[in-house]
Amino acid sequence: MDARNPVANPLIVLREEFDDWAILFDPDTGNAFGLNPTGVFIWKLLDGKHNTDDIVSRLREEAEDVPEDASEHARQFIASLEKQGLVGYEVIAGSPA
C-alpha cells in the first residue's frame, strides 16, 4: 500500500449538477472546478483509505473501456487537485512524512 493516500479537503463542496457531472466549490475563494463523471468517481474515493492504484482498480470494476494508461491520468488528475489545494495526503503513522 502506498504510504500516502490522497484525501479530499473536507472544506470543498462536491456539487453534483447535471447527469454525472459536478463542480468542486471552494467556499473560501468562491472558485469552482468542473469535474467529469470519472473525476466525480475518483473524488468520492479520496477518503484517505485508497491510494491511486486502488482507485483505478475500482474504476476498472465499475466502468467499461478504461484505458491502459488510466493510472497515469488518475495520478495527474489527483496531482492537479493537490496543486489547487483541493486534496491533501493523510500520513500513515510510522511512515516518512
Binding site: 472544506l11 463542496v13 462536491l14 456539487r15 453534483e16 449538477e17 447535471f18 447527469d19 466549490f25 467556499p27 473560501d28 468562491g30 469552482a32
Partner: protein, 369 residues
C-alpha cells in the same frame, strides 16, 4: 430542460422587521410580509440541510437583515456549513464591529446597500429623513473593513432627474467599480404608493436614455437585470428584430422570463419555502419539516413554473397582434401575478408595445455600449 440536482443558491428573508418604511418596498404588504421571525436555531438547522444539498450561496434579506441581534450567529452557521453569503441591506445599521466580523469570515460575496440619490433630498424622499447619510456611512464602514460592497439604485419618480448626479457620486467621488440599477416595481408598498413612486411613461423614456448615455460615459460600469437600463437594452434589441423582420428569437416568444427557480429558491421570514422572493404567495413547504431536495425535484408548483416556457405568448389576448411577440419573454412572473393575478401571463409592466402606445420613446441605438 435539464435540472440541477439541488438549488445552487437560496434567498432567505431572515427577518420581517425593518427600521425604515421605504415607500416602494416590495416586501411589506406583499405575500412575503409575514408575522414573526424564526429563532436563529431554526436557520442554523436549515443551513445544515443546505450543506448536505451542496448549496453554495445564501443571500440574506428581509426586512433589514442587520436589525437581527443574532446576525453573527446566523452568518456563523452559513460559514460552518461551507457556503458563501451576500446581504441585501438599506445600509443604515452597519457598524464597525459588524463590518469587521463580516470581513473576518472571508465568505462574503457582497453586501448590497441601497443608495437612491446624490443628495439627501432624492434618497430620503422615499426612504425617510436621515437615511441617505446613514446609508453612505454604512457603505464607507464596509469599505473601511474591506467588505465587498455593492450599491443598488432604485429609480423612482423623484430621482429620475438625479441620475447623472448619482453616477458621479458613486463612480467618481466614491470610486465604486460599478453599481446596479432597478426601478420601483409594482409590488408591495409600491403598489399602494404608485402615484408618487412609479415612473411615468415619460420618466421611463428619460431614465432609459439617461442610463444608456451614462453607461457609455462610464464604460459599462452601470448594470441592470431589470428596470429602465435593462429594458432599454432588451427593447432596442426587440425593435431591431422587428424592423429587420428576423425569425423568432431563440428562447423567446413564450413565457421564458425569468427562470430563477431553475437555480435558486427562497424562504420567507416564517420559514415557508417559495420559488422566489417575487413569488412569495406560492408555498412549497417549510424549512426543517420538508425535504428541500424533494421539493426542488418533485413539487408540482415548481414543475409548473419550470414549464412556463412552453406557453406561447401568442395564446394571450394581451399579446394579440403584437409585432414583438416572437422576440419577447413575457418578463417576471411575480409582476404578472401582482398586476393581473396570474403567474402564467406576460407582465403588462414590461410590455414594449404598451410603452410605445402610451407615448414612450426608445433611446437612440447608438447609445448602446
Amino acid at each position: 430542460m435539464r435540472l440541477m440536482r439541488t438549488p445552487k443558491k437560496i434567498d432567505v428573508n431572515i427577518t420581517n422587521r425593518c427600521n425604515l418604511r421605504c415607500r416602494y418596498c416590495y416586501h411589506f404588504e406583499s405575500a412575503g410580509d409575514v408575522e414573526g421571525d424564526l429563532p436563529a436555531a431554526e436557520w442554523l438547522q436549515f443551513f445544515e440541510e443546505l450543506n448536505r444539498c451542496a448549496v453554495t450561496e445564501v443571500t440574506l434579506a428581509g426586512g433589514e437583515p442587520f436589525i437581527r441581534e443574532d446576525l453573527k450567529e446566523i452568518i456563523g452557521g452559513i460559514v460552518t456549513n461551507r457556503m458563501r453569503f451576500a446581504i441585501l441591506s438599506n445600509g443604515t445599521l452597519i457598524d464597525d464591529e459588524m463590518a469587521a466580523f463580516i470581513a473576518s469570515t472571508g465568505r462574503c460575496n457582497y453586501v448590497q446597500i441601497s443608495i437612491d440619490g446624490s443628495i439627501p433630498t432624492t434618497h430620503d424622499v422615499m426612504r425617510g429623513k436621515g437615511s441617505f447619510a446613514m446609508a453612505l456611512q454604512g457603505l464607507m464602514t464596509l469599505r473601511r473593513h474591506g467588505v465587498p460592497a455593492a450599491v443598488r439604485v432604485t429609480i423612482h419618480r423623484k430621482n429620475v432627474s438625479d441620475l447623472e448626479g448619482i453616477a458621479k457620486l458613486l463612480l467618481e467621488d466614491l470610486r465604486l467599480s460599478s453599481f446596479g440599477t432597478n426601478s420601483a416595481g409594482a409590488m408591495g408598498l409600491c403598489r399602494k404608493n404608485a402615484e408618487v413612486v412609479q415612473l411615468t411613461t415619460q420618466d421611463r423614456t428619460i431614465a432609459m436614455e439617461t442610463l444608456l448615455r451614462l453607461t457609455k460615459k462610464y464604460n459599462g460600469r452601470i448594470q441592470a437585470m431589470a428596470g429602465p437600463l435593462a429594458e432599454a437594452r432588451g427593447w432596442l434589441e426587440m425593435e431591431e428584430a422587428r424592423l429587420e423582420g428576423r425569425p423568432p428569437t431563440r428562447g423567446r416568444g413564450s413565457l421564458t422570463g425569468c427562470g430563477c427557480y431553475r437555480t435558486s429558491l427562497s424562504v420567507r421570514a416564517d420559514g415557508t419555502i417559495t420559488p422566489c422572493t417575487m413569488l412569495s404567495h406560492i408555498e412549497l413547504g417549510r424549512i426543517n419539516r420538508d425535504d428541500l431536495g424533494e421539493i426542488w425535484r418533485d413539487h408540482d408548483g415548481l414543475k409548473a413554473l419550470r414549464e412556463r416556457h412552453l406557453i406561447p405568448l401568442g395564446q394571450f389576448s394581451f399579446c394579440e397582434g403584437c409585432p414583438y411577440v416572437n422576440h419577447c419573454t413575457g418578463n417576471c412572473p411575480g409582476l404578472s401575478y401582482t398586476l393581473v393575478g396570474e403567474v402564467n401571463h406576460p407582465s403588462p409592466d414590461a410590455c414594449l408595445r404598451k410603452f410605445l402606445d402610451e407615448g414612450g420613446r426608445l433611446p437612440d441605438r447608438t447609445l448602446l455600449c
